[in-house]
Subunit: 541 residues, 2 copies
Amino acid sequence: MKSFKIALAQFSPHVGNIDANTQKMIEQANQAKKDDAQIIIFPELSTIGYPAEDLVLRPSVTKRTEQAFKQLSEVKDIVMVFGFVHQTEDGLRYNSAAVMKDGEVLGVYNKQILPNYSVFDEKRYFTEGHQHLVFDYLGHKFGVLICEDVWSLPTVQQLAQLNINTALVLNSSPYEVGKPQHRIETMSALAKELNINLVYCNQVGGQDDLVFDGTSFVLNKSGEIALQAPSFQEGVYIADFDATQHEFSKGLITPQLDTMAEIYQSLVLATRDYVQRSGFPGVILGLSGGIDSALTLAIAADAIGGDKVQAVMMPYKYTAQISVEDAAEQAKNMGVTFGIAEINPIVNGFMQTLFPFFGNAPADATEENLQARSRGTLLMALSNKFGNLVLSTGNKSELSVGYCTLYGDMVGGFAVLKDVYKTIVFELAKYRNSISETPVIPERVITRPPSAELRPDQKDQDSLPAYDVLDAILYAYIEEDMSQDDIIAKGFDAEVVQKVIRLVDVNEYKRRQGAIGPRISSRAFSRERRYPIVNGWKAGI
Amino acid sequence: MKSFKIALAQFSPHVGNIDANTQKMIEQANQAKKDDAQIIIFPELSTIGYPAEDLVLRPSVTKRTEQAFKQLSEVKDIVMVFGFVHQTEDGLRYNSAAVMKDGEVLGVYNKQILPNYSVFDEKRYFTEGHQHLVFDYLGHKFGVLICEDVWSLPTVQQLAQLNINTALVLNSSPYEVGKPQHRIETMSALAKELNINLVYCNQVGGQDDLVFDGTSFVLNKSGEIALQAPSFQEGVYIADFDATQHEFSKGLITPQLDTMAEIYQSLVLATRDYVQRSGFPGVILGLSGGIDSALTLAIAADAIGGDKVQAVMMPYKYTAQISVEDAAEQAKNMGVTFGIAEINPIVNGFMQTLFPFFGNAPADATEENLQARSRGTLLMALSNKFGNLVLSTGNKSELSVGYCTLYGDMVGGFAVLKDVYKTIVFELAKYRNSISETPVIPERVITRPPSAELRPDQKDQDSLPAYDVLDAILYAYIEEDMSQDDIIAKGFDAEVVQKVIRLVDVNEYKRRQGAIGPRISSRAFSRERRYPIVNGWKAGI
């Protein structure tokens, strides 16, 4: 057994762009060679990126993948283990890994365990493989696994029984809070139990509503970490196998991020990749003086630079003066362009046109929505004229209960806080203030009682329970699938629980038309929590 | 072998409402008994309705299903074959059918073939069954199959080899153009080949973007139709097995609908069920004087009655006088409330607020979108104030290429023509005129060149190819998955094809935020064609 170096390409693909991804893989392989690596491993489905959804079904995937193989076959003197869509002559399609050296394919592995739950739909696209792949190189025996495979104990046991030294695992494992830690802990116990080394290479980057954190790692069969790559950063990381010690030497071990840092960075990366890969020159958002837009502004500026962010305050007669002041201060702190656009003439125009229809009907949510929709349309007009993407600023608590206006504050192409409960919004704001010399979000924005400012002296808590109570009920109903009766039995007020659940149920239509936004929870709306709009379930047992 | 009658409950469930569905099943069983039926068959998953999506994953499905069984067990003197979510003690979940008589469960069948393509996600929810169910009754041998099972020849062959006389097939097979005919033809060949009678009972009704047509039928082993229920109507239909003739007697055989009648009725049913099951008192829509809104108006009025439909014309300076006249005439023809709301003061309000930002920047799509968004916001205000659901009027051709304004003409809860290409819109308008004594859609609405009327003398064909060309390219790219190169090779202008495909690709974000609407094609957006928004595929091979 010889010593060797293996490169983990923590790779951020452009989903669907097989050609560009292949070029980047070649660059990373060349970089790994400069670092004297003999092997390089890429993430799951690295050529097309994950998840490519129905692009996988387009017939020309095969032709495009053949071209990728041709290009990759020009890379010499390094073993490449990479992921691809494998269309076989009998018409089946697999989620596969190829082992290639000097233009020769030494072996192909077809993923055996296809996840088809949560955000995953792999059985829509792929057939299950039924065979392990083992190869010898430099006197060392390697096995190949792909993502979900490694969470199936029987599958890994079978591979271990083939007397491999090291399992190479190609992954596209999306981020959720605590997942990086959970992966390493689980895999460490597995490596130890099965007495194998484990090289875990994960995709990084934002793809629509999914964020991939990377956090690739190498474990020795003792279960000890030999390498841990940073989260949310693309890069090629080298692990060094020392034949004399029969183990990977300790290399870069990036400390785990604290929870708020982890979430914050995931949102920054998701936002940056969405904006840049969609080709927008910058973003625009409405500032209200409240905490949601303040946090969104900070994330946006951290993602793409304050000079590419435009902020607009759109006051109306219910807007407090301190809201305008705080909005201006946030914008100044983050170095973004700031403008003020009064909505009075617009709301007046609507009311004039609607008078023959409304007559003297009493004011209700209609008039509040008109304010929100006037603002939404203003943002869209500025976006249309100057090309910046509108960021939506609503949080998961609001979206859950529909405390937001469709085509109003919900407008935008990317909803940065879509999967972030309001109680976490507060934590993230404090976290962001803690990492810069002076706070970027004014203290009183964090401490003021939240208000939509759509009528005089309005407070969120006039219509909703306190956010800690609301979020606890929402978490039990959405994340934990608890029934109404069981949530009430936990000690919450029955009427409050009934109201909250009813609001969650009837607002599915709003969420369905909302912008996508980064998933950080274990039950994100849309891709993960798939509920019908017409829904007769009704709460209860 | 005795003679018997079997009732086909062509059932329209309220998805998720197990209790209400069970009550309706009991009523239908009692009705069947009055008609002297000894057996009644319901559609697939009749207790919870199809597709219940992630409601199936809620833990209390089991408790609610147990209650349903308890209620159904009160029905005596008829064999009931119905569908339910079957959670077993080992933690597995099946899509199953129960055979119940006098409160006793004679057998349970677990669906063997789970579709996980197109609009189907059954592998997300269910485990595959591995055993056939056969039962004897009245000297007759029945086998049970569920929907996709019957499209798998080996599965049906195995069942036929158990010497059954009749296969009872529970279905929730969604409509698409030509599907009713295709089902009967395929099943007729199958019945003949395997020498079995076939009782095919299908769900009916709209559920979000899916429409179920019903069109249940009974086939003799000769392949001949003994019963064909009407499409798009709920009802209990009785088939009569004549022991002396060893076959089902010829009963009600509803003629197949013509294509346009079929599509039209599917849209009417989908709209009615969406509106009513969402609990709206009526609908509101914007009339432009164009054909899309004219057709949508007719469908809406046919679905829920003209008295529950409110139409609003929202003219601006580019609106032709004949558009206003035609809109008024359509409204009058369909007996709906009609109002006019000028958008001038609103657009002026927006331009006043935006002036400091826009300065003297030349007018572009921004100003056109402002008109559309002013209209959208007006409709939403009227909806908010009076409670009617906004119907969106865009067609599939527009949505494909993004020739529509997000938060503008795209506002609404239900997009009636979402899956209907413009060329079919014309056909449907002519069809609707042909079935009433006097045309409801003025002739010149059909013959005028389509225009969005967002700038002087604008015509759709200034920006888009002629609709017959556009639709042919769209069909090839969307429905047939053809590559750009292959479409050009068919003889279309290369530049036009490139432009159209680019527009389809970059407008995924708009479609993602659009309202749901009834699927009538074999590749509907959203549930069926699942494309990433950030998408580097790029047209070509």
